[in-house]
């Protein structure tokens, strides 16, 4: 865990997300920021983050859609949902789509950091197990490991 966790924060509330990014940097996590869904998806194409903190209600592509696309294209990216609008239904959908955790705004920073670290650990485990299967030539199983979060 010596490596810096790569974070992508997605939220249309710039004031909020920029401050959060700054605080994360202070906690040794490299944070990139996207202010809408499209930008977030573009950024993921260039290089995948370890953990993504995602708001649900955004102009353009909304959080749920971003989550779906990210989990499809890059199942290894762990997504933490952080929203002020979430209903119970939203939470259920997100968890089904493979979100790592679901938080309601405002969230305590320590709790969020803990969650991010947990998500990172999960990612590393998944990648490692998948790599083991892949080395053994069992790509199907490797793929299953990477996607199993979807079914949670």
């Amino acid at each position: 865990m010596s490596k810096k966790i790569k974070l992508l924060l997605v939220d249309d509330e710039e004031n909020f997300v920029n401050t959060l990014a700054e605080r994360m940097k202070m906690r040794d996590m490299g944070s990139e920021v996207a202010h809408d869904g499209e930008t977030a998806l573009e950024m993921i194409k260039d290089g995948t983050p370890d953990v993504m903190v995602l708001d649900l209600r955004m102009p353009g592509i909304d959080g749920v859609e971003v989550l779906r696309k990210v989990k499809k294209a890059h199942p290894e990216v762990q997504v933490i949902v952080l929203t002020g609008h979430g209903s119970e239904q939203d939470q259920e959908i997100c968890m089904q789509l493979g979100a790592y955790e679901y938080h309601k705004k405002p969230v305590d920073i320590d709790r969020l950091v803990k969650s991010i670290k947990g998500a990172y650990r999960q990612k590393m485990e998944d990648v490692m197990v998948a790599a083991t299967f892949a080395q053994a030539g069992d790509f199907d199983e490797a793929d299953k490991v990477m996607h199993e979060g979807d079914k949670k």
């Binding site: 004031n15 959060l20 605080r23 202070m26 002020g84 209903s87 309601k104 705004k105 405002p106 920073i109």
Partner: protein, 574 residues
């Protein structure tokens, strides 16, 4: 349930229509009166008609049964009289034809003829021969009447005119009631003479006696002038005037009912004689003959009265039951309606609260992060004079944000619970959360709210939001009941069927009378402040969720409301 579903489908239409036909107690009174009147009319009219018809039919049948024998008897007796008179008349007529004037004028011969007559026919008293001038030429009998002239007597005129004459009963010269039979005969040479016999009326009495009437009945003969020809028991002696007027003329035996001079209601059977100047009458008091009728009438009356009483009783009972059912149905409908209304209201409040909470959450998050950043920055700064103080301020802001967060999340939770859903839930958590809503008020009033929740409480399948409303209602009521500084104890234990939750307060308690009504809609003791719906909605919810609710209260000591809830919802949802 179907009704409820319909209500939910068209809540507004139902609501408006219900306001219009709100049921007043007077409507039930009118309805009750109408139904009873209708039922009573529908049953009593045919019953009365039947009773009246029966009464008259019976009466007529009874009267006929008494009248017929009387009529037959009168007819028979009249025939006997006619036969008796006809026999005597033809005997006299025969003698008049069979013998010559000379023979009849012979005293010895007439005596012989008379003795034969007396032997053959009872009742002859004497026999006389009268010439055309009215002088009794010859006479046989107990009186010395020979030589007496009858020319100026009525019977003499009559017999000269008609040839045959039967007199009424009269005293005449003999000083006892008798009847004359006179026959006129005409010889070839044109001379006329009259043979005249006297009959003793004892024979009449004998014929009447042969009718063998009951002691209170009476039979007698009268002439057309209304003079009694035989003695009557009740209406005069022989030859006295009958004490009531003669009935209309008819030769057929006829029965009438009349009030006799003694004031009795009697059946009077009578028949006029076509040949003679007589009317035969028989009177029978109605009262004695109708004894059986009176018992029948009594039975009829009893049955009728009993029938009426029974009908009235049944009509009342049936109507009361009907009205009660209607009232219950109406009340249930009303309650269901209010529940829907109430939950709709709560639902819109919930939506509003959710909207506010969402909007507040975002700026709150900004405050949180900005303040958090301030704190982060402060913590990495070397000490400076105001650092500690600043950190305290920042922490204070963060705590305020935390408090706001608690509020908005609770608001969201409230909104979420407006959606009806059956789920598995932890009652302990639900009770704690609900009690949390009221913690502030309780604290202000120094009311000690204790929660004694069994950690082993099983999870149950039920409706979270409805249950929350239930506990909120119960706790609110408890809070309203206790004085400042009182105590409320909420306890939850597993029960054989599910769980048992009780809310106990040491408040004012209530009377038995109040206790009877507390689950009724619109019943409230919080004058002007309560809707009277809380407990009735609670009751409705608990029943719907398959549970039960009971109340126990002592005035001045406190109240305990106990709820049992099933573990599952299978039976409640079925």
């Amino acid at each position: 349930m179907r009704k409820l579903a319909a209500l939910i489908k068209h809540p507004l239409r139902e609501l408006t229509s219900d306001v219009d036909d709100a049921v007043s107690p007077e409507r039930y009174t009118t309805l009750r009166r109408n139904i009873i009147a209708l039922m009573v009319a529908a049953t009593l009219i045919p019953l009365s008609v039947m009773a009246v018809l029966n009464y008259y039919e019976h009466q007529n049948a009874m009267a006929r049964e008494i009248q017929n024998p009387l009529r037959v008897l009168v007819n028979k007796t009249k025939n006997s009289f006619e036969l008796f008179l006809a026999e005597r008349t033809s005997t006299v007529s025969l003698i008049a034809s069979a013998y010559t004037y000379a023979e009849l004028a012979d005293e010895q011969k007439l005596a012989r003829i008379f003795s034969v007559m007396k032997r053959e026919f009872e009742g002859f008293v004497d026999l006389g021969l009268i010439d055309e001038h009215g002088t009794q030429v010859n006479y046989v009998g107990p009186y010395a009447l020979a030589g007496k002239n009858y020319a100026d007597q009525r019977w003499f005129q009559e017999v000269r005119l008609k040839g045959k004459y039967v007199s009424d009963v009269f005293m005449g010269l003999r000083k006892f009631p008798h009847v004359i039979i006179a026959v006129q005969h005409m010889t070839e040479d044109g001379r006329t003479w009259i043979l005249r016999a006297t009959l003793d009326t004892r024979q009449f009495e004998r014929i009447i006696a042969s009718m063998s009437l009951e002691p209170d009945a009476d039979a007698f003969l009268v002439n057309t002038q209304g003079l009694l020809q035989t003695s009557s028991n009740n209406y005069g002696k022989v030859l006295e005037k009958l004490t009531f007027p003669l009935p209309p003329l008819t030769f057929e035996p006829t029965v009438l009912t009349m009030i006799d001079p003694l004031g009795r209601e009697v059946f009077l059977a009578y028949a006029y004689f076509p040949e003679a100047d007589f009317v035969l009458m028989a009177a029978k008091p109605r009262s004695s003959s109708l004894k059986t009728w009176y018992t029948v009438r009594g039975d009829l009356l009893f049955i009728f009265v009993a029938g009426v009483a029974l009908v009235l009783f049944a009509a009342m009972r049936v109507t009361d039951a009907l009205i009660r059912r209607m009232k219950e149905a109406e009340d249930r409908r009303e309650l269901a309606l209010r529940e829907v209304e109430h939950s709709q209201k709560l639902s819109s409040i919930g939506r509003l609260a959710a909207g506010v909470a969402h909007e507040v959450n975002n700026p709150l998050a900004i405050i949180n992060e900005k303040t958090g950043l301030m704190k982060d920055i402060l913590s990495i700064q070397p000490d400076f004079p105001a650092k500690e103080k600043l950190l305290v301020q920042v922490d204070s802001v963060l705590r305020a944000v935390e408090r706001c967060r608690g509020i908005t999340h609770r608001m969201l939770g409230f909104a979420r619970r407006m959606d009806v859903s059956i789920e598995e839930l932890d009652l302990t958590e639900l009770i704690r959360e609900t009690a949390g809503f009221l913690a502030n008020e309780a604290m202000h009033r120094k009311v000690d709210v204790q929660l004694d929740l069994d950690p082993e409480l099983p999870r149950i399948v039920s409706d979270r939001s409805q249950l929350q409303q239930v506990f909120l209602n119960l706790l609110n009521n408890a809070l309203a009941a206790v004085a400042d500084g009182g105590s409320i104890m909420v306890s939850a234990q597993p029960d054989e069927a599910g769980v048992l939750v009780s809310v106990k307060d040491n408040g004012c308690g209530m009377s038995d009378e109040t206790m009877k009504h507390i689950f009724e809609p619109f019943f409230t003791t919080k004058k002007g402040k309560g809707t009277g719906l809380g407990l009735s909605i609670t009751y409705g919810i608990i029943k719907r969720l398959g549970g039960d609710i009971a109340v126990e209260s002592t005035q001045g000591v406190g109240t305990t409301l106990t709820i049992t809830l099933p573990k599952g919802q299978r039976e409640a949802l079925a």
